[in-house]
Symmetry: C2
Amino acid sequence: MVLEKLKQVPDPTYVHAGPLTDFVASLFTGAGMPEDEARLCAEVLVDADMNGIDTHGVCYNLDLHYLTGLLNGYINPAPNIKVTYETPGTAVIDADRGMGMIASVQAMELAIDKASKTGGMASVAVKNSSHYGAAGYYARQALSHDMIGFSMSSGGGRVIIPLNGRWPWMGTNPMAFAAPADKEPPFVIDMASSMTSYGKVSIAQAFGVDIPEGWAQDANGKPVTDISKRSEAIGQPPLGGDYDHGAHKGMGIAMMADVLGAVLPGETLSGMLLDNPKGGRFCHYFQATCIDGFRPAAEFKADMDDMLRTLREQESAPGAPDIQYPGHPDAIYFQKRTETGIPLPRHTVNYFKQMADQLNVEWTIDG
Amino acid sequence: MVLEKLKQVPDPTYVHAGPLTDFVASLFTGAGMPEDEARLCAEVLVDADMNGIDTHGVCYNLDLHYLTGLLNGYINPAPNIKVTYETPGTAVIDADRGMGMIASVQAMELAIDKASKTGGMASVAVKNSSHYGAAGYYARQALSHDMIGFSMSSGGGRVIIPLNGRWPWMGTNPMAFAAPADKEPPFVIDMASSMTSYGKVSIAQAFGVDIPEGWAQDANGKPVTDISKRSEAIGQPPLGGDYDHGAHKGMGIAMMADVLGAVLPGETLSGMLLDNPKGGRFCHYFQATCIDGFRPAAEFKADMDDMLRTLREQESAPGAPDIQYPGHPDAIYFQKRTETGIPLPRHTVNYFKQMADQLNVEWTIDG
């Protein structure tokens, strides 16, 4: 169970969400962002950590995407975000190469507003953006409005190797879907279209943990499992791994993100894939559906409770842990980390100290 | 490559789409359906065969679902299909336990009509239905309207075993997504949320082909790969197979179908899972999105061509066949089978003869 191992941060420094958000926001303002937008980006990242999505929190992508992109000029610290086209149920937003979270939170709010006004559903596509963090954040924005939320993101580095292909071609293009329940935690999918996000390979490398077949592949099409040989990895097969195990399905989901996130708003292939230095270019898709367009939301949520609880109570396989539905572990993490704080690995604390020095930012977190 | 083997029908009888549709329609009218609706159902099934989706054509599910359901009274041969609730962008349809295709074609037409009128997007959920055939058919209905189509279906027999669970709990709940191109065949995903549809296991049994790990599992959680032991199989793990290989993702997709197809229109858990004799109870979800809500469809389709062709032209892995995108093999099958006819396996021809006798239907196909 490699995934379980990667959840055990070695030698952790625990920091609570509040001070961690303040500190990360100060790094972003130190890199040139306005106060409010810096805070929003920090909140989205820390929210991922609070939900146990360590790959998409503060520990890996500041170096890989955000701070590096802001400092090398690839991410625009003060974007002029514009709606470039809209109808009552759709819109296209140009993110002006800003931090992905800023246009994305706006885009999902716009989709929710449009869905609310039409009583049905609405969607917004965002082009010319950067990495938006955990896809699930935006799907979950719909929940408090008694709506179902959906999001996909396309682009970034080429990581996923198409079925039968030699070289990576798509990003790890995630899909997120969230639906509210009443007493049960909401149902939330947040999945890369590979077996695991490439961030998990980074965590495995940071922790020195070997990885399962299917998480990384070399230029000869052979699996990389010895994490000390990570540099030989050129990408990942799609979810499924090979044809007989459904790799055409993972590939299809990755391409669905390209269709909705990139081709729909007019982010063309050349823009997506050729213009892609460190920092990456990304684009996104957001969708909101009013539950009341089908039946009273209160009834829907009661039936969601019924379904989710009944599933959790099904018999486990011999020796297996309890059954959990997608979104349930997130809620448990949130509760636990509200008490303990978020466990930061050593390399993150070191990186934070280094960047605080470099950006003249006050060191406000313990540890 | 087991999937490749299952495409080679042993001892085939080739029948062209026209006469096959006529004959299958006559079986349905023989079982009590009105002429027009019988023909529509036959067309949807034969269309799956034409697109190479042999699991969802005429060869397996007449016995497993349709004719058996019509004859044992579980499927209503003359349903009174009603819209029970609607807004400008949403609707709920009660399929009155008719053949799934009838309410489904209507539902997707309604979603397309509503999306067209709002200029944005619309969705329709269908409850109280039966098996609807290949999900991709309905997603593809959107294409000629310059829309993106999406469909999921929930229910039927319990087949997918939740991650960590002992017994199957969900149906093989498929997801379909279709987007048009200009000169390239359209992009079409049509996937069960397990590694492979359970129908493929039926084909493997019919052809005597052993199956890969992950296609079937016994009550002790062990994989069934020896097809002669198929009777020991109680279900399938979700796409991914186990946690480290992403089974929580396949499980999430299966549950997304339950949320959209079942909970949204108010098909409750007890209705879905307890009331489930042979024939099954199913419910569905359909969604249409106007491409013109984002940018001119002609530009979108030209960029789809560019993306799809560029992907196809990427270098293959050493020894691997050409890269294909989802939907491309379907188009090749369609062209080939337009020339050769559809290869029916011996057991299907035998079943057709037996049912023609039983229903007093004229034998109008050669072979």
